[in-house]
Amino acid sequence: MTVLRLLLWLCVVLVLWEGALRLVPGSLLVSSPLAIAGYVSNNAALLARAALETSVNAAQGFVWGNLAAIGLGTIMIVFPRSARTLSAVCLLVFCVPLIASGPILRVLFGPGTGPQIALAALAVYYTTLLTLLVGLRAVSQTWTDLMRVYGRGPMSTLIRARARASLPYLFVGLQISAPAALLGAMIGEFTGAERGLGVLTLRAMRGLDTNATWALALIAALIAMIAYGSIGWLGQRVVAYRPVILLSAPAVSVRQRPWKYLLEIGFTTAFVLILWQVSMDALDLNRFFAKRPGDVWAFLAEAQNRNTVLSALAETLSFAVPGYLAGLALGAALAALVVLSPALNRATMPVAVALRAVPIITTAPLLVLAFGRGLVGTMVVVAVMIFFPTFVACQQGLRQTPGQVVDLFRSYDAGRWHLLRAAQIPAMLPAFFASARMAVPAALLAITTVEWLATGKGIGVLMATTASTSNYNMLWSCVVILAVVAVVVYAAVAAVEHRVLRIYANEQV
């Protein structure tokens, strides 16, 4: 029945789409469904080979990236002292843009699929890690206390209590990472891959082959949706229980002394710098394009260079911040709306997944065309990039509302709004804040891409010019500055989160 209705709606949309284009003929930017179908049938073999190539790379990256996330999450829970340093390192690695990592990966892996797989893995490990960590901590304190009373260590708690509690969250992480892996594999192909959907996308965009561009975008979106849907289905099969009630006494918060906090920051910074230097030295990467901390320091020590980077940064942030806030608000609001009206869920989800699976360099030009090259266009691109993970995570969070609480509201005949405001939104908060943190690097990635493609301002342009100027000192300085911004904003969000969750979800703190 639902399938039938869905198909009906699909037909309506297609007919409207085709009709609209018939009314506005001569559009070279938007293709009609018939033209796209024509392109697909004419190039079926080519598209199938490309889709297979990209999917296989994405799947390998998906496995590696998520294994890494699970490994890192386990370490961070079992050795809580390592958590902050490790998560900072993970965030920093996640922040390195393709323009800096691309040449390194290609030189390291040589020709072949190495860079594509590596980039797919890099695209997923961080989001899964964050979602998983929320899950691993989503056990009631009574349980952890109980384990402690029985003299069990953190490992035992992890296996017996945390692992099970984390499963629903892990599946959300895996689900979000499926489109991300595909995207990672596609943009990985920009580093000189021989075949795949990303290669064809580049070609189609340059050749003004609108039908091909749309066909490729739709195929990528379709693969992402299938992967997303099947992981969701699997998740429902595996995690058939409702999560336990999470109400418990407030945790005793250990206030850290300022000097200890500073010490920790110092330690993490030193650790990152040493890791950076040592890994590049160990891999024997040429200093011409793989800059070391010392090179960046020397470059930024000159006032002129520093001013260039910082003024570009100011420009970038003035666009990124509104987009970031809009994306978060939109994601959370839509999740709440969907809970109020479940029928909307079916309509919004495919759109959300599709938007996430199409590379930003394909969508950005269309969005820019629609919304202009100013603040609005830039904001929309940034918002689109971060809206989807926020939406999914928030929806999952809303569903985590303890059953007893919902029953209580029902028994008092409380309305939907009341339930949402007093019970479901507080239950959503851990997931919301996790995605707010997760969105920080994503927003920076989006803004730098759109600056390069559309506005021609800010730090994204400084980085993009490296291709012609070989000014890798500038590139790596931008990378460092962006990473510092990401860490600072991340820490700020985490601080707000800490305060809010202490009230609403104290097991997370």
Partner: protein, 329 residues
């Protein structure tokens, strides 16, 4: 189009002699050396001569096993060449000059595009035929290319402030949709795409208005020029032979390109058009006289002038003709 006949004949004699010798011995004369050749962009007929060299065995018969690595938006040429993972890369004089100023020990050892392919493309209804036509127009380009436009303006006494620069991605869509009046792009890609799509367009080649800058240049490190000389000579020799064949039949080169890269999604008609369009950029009286890839002190000094406009202070030492001299010697 004049054909450097003496070259082809000499190569024919040389290579057939080598072939006979190899066949007579019954075994390969020596084990092939494997080298990587880093192209500057995705596979297309832009590198048609190289594909001919690979297909016809111009490299293997000289004992060289060449892998062609394609480029891409995030695959700059300089890192693999500087790291030694690629023996030769395809670059352009301005890119090379910039890389050298950043400490890369590169030399330009041959020049495929004698004329720079940068052009101003516009729609036939609103054409830009001379630099003066740019005044009051909106031009779509990557902001990174502003120095290129500045150089064109300086060369032709146009005030760049009279032109509105609109940052766009590298595709013809902004021009076709009317977001801009013209595009700064290559003569051989976006205009060809528009023509194939039936968009009536016109181009103004910047090289015809004083912008003298070698493009599609072959770069190698000083180290390989010193230590892998024989490989470099063999690679460039194969290139010269491949490109001479290309000139004879650009349609065949286009067909070969499409055939060799079935996964690249290439369109034969587009490739044929592109192949023909790049001939005047790559072959000139200079190459007819001296052979493909050639450059003279005169062309080098014109390049140095243009590079100065682009804020690159270089000397003639950036170019090294010794490999070409050995190839054509």
């Amino acid at each position: 189009m004049t054909q450097p006949a003496h070259l082809t004949r000499r190569f024919f004699l040389q290579t057939s002699a080598a072939g006979v010798a190899t066949a007579a011995a019954g075994v390969p004369a020596f084990a092939a050396t494997s080298v990587n050749f880093q192209l500057s962009w995705l596979h297309s007929v832009q590198f048609g001569g190289s594909y001919i060299a690979a297909k016809k065995g111009y490299w293997t018969e000289q004992g060289l096993d060449v892998s062609l690595s394609q480029g891409g938006p995030n695959a700059p040429v300089e890192p693999p060449v500087v790291s030694g993972t690629a023996l030769v890369g395809i670059s352009a004089a301005d890119y090379t000059a910039a890389a050298v100023s950043q400490g890369a020990p590169f030399k330009i050892i041959a020049v495929a595009m004698q004329k720079n392919p940068f052009a101003i493309a516009s729609l036939a209804a609103n054409p830009v035929n001379t630099p003066a036509d740019l005044v009051g127009k909106r031009i779509g380009m990557a902001v990174a290319n502003t120095p290129v436009l500045q150089a064109l303006c300086t060369l032709n006494n146009v005030d760049i402030n009279d032109i509105e620069i609109v940052p766009t991605q590298y595709d013809p869509a902004p021009l076709v949709s009317g977001q801009v009046d013209c595009l700064l792009c290559w003569e051989t890609d976006l205009p060809v795409a528009m023509t194939v799509k039936g968009v009536d367009n016109t181009t103004m080649l910047m090289a015809d208005h004083g912008y003298a800058l070698h493009s599609q240049t072959y770069i190698a490190t000083e180290e390989s020029i010193a230590n892998q000389r024989a490989d470099l000579v063999a690679l460039i020799k194969g290139e010269v032979m491949g490109w001479n064949d290309y000139l004879n039949d650009t349609d065949a080169a286009a067909a070969l390109t499409v055939e060799m890269f079935p996964d690249a999604g290439l369109d034969l008609q587009t490739q044929k058009l592109q192949a023909a369009r790049q001939v005047p950029l790559m072959f000139s009286d200079l190459t007819a006289e001296n052979g493909f890839g050639w450059f003279t002190d005169d062309t080098v000094s014109k390049n140095i002038e243009t590079l100065a406009l682009l804020d690159h202070d270089v000397s003639a030492g950036l170019w090294d003709r010794s490999i070409l001299e050995e190839v054509h010697g």
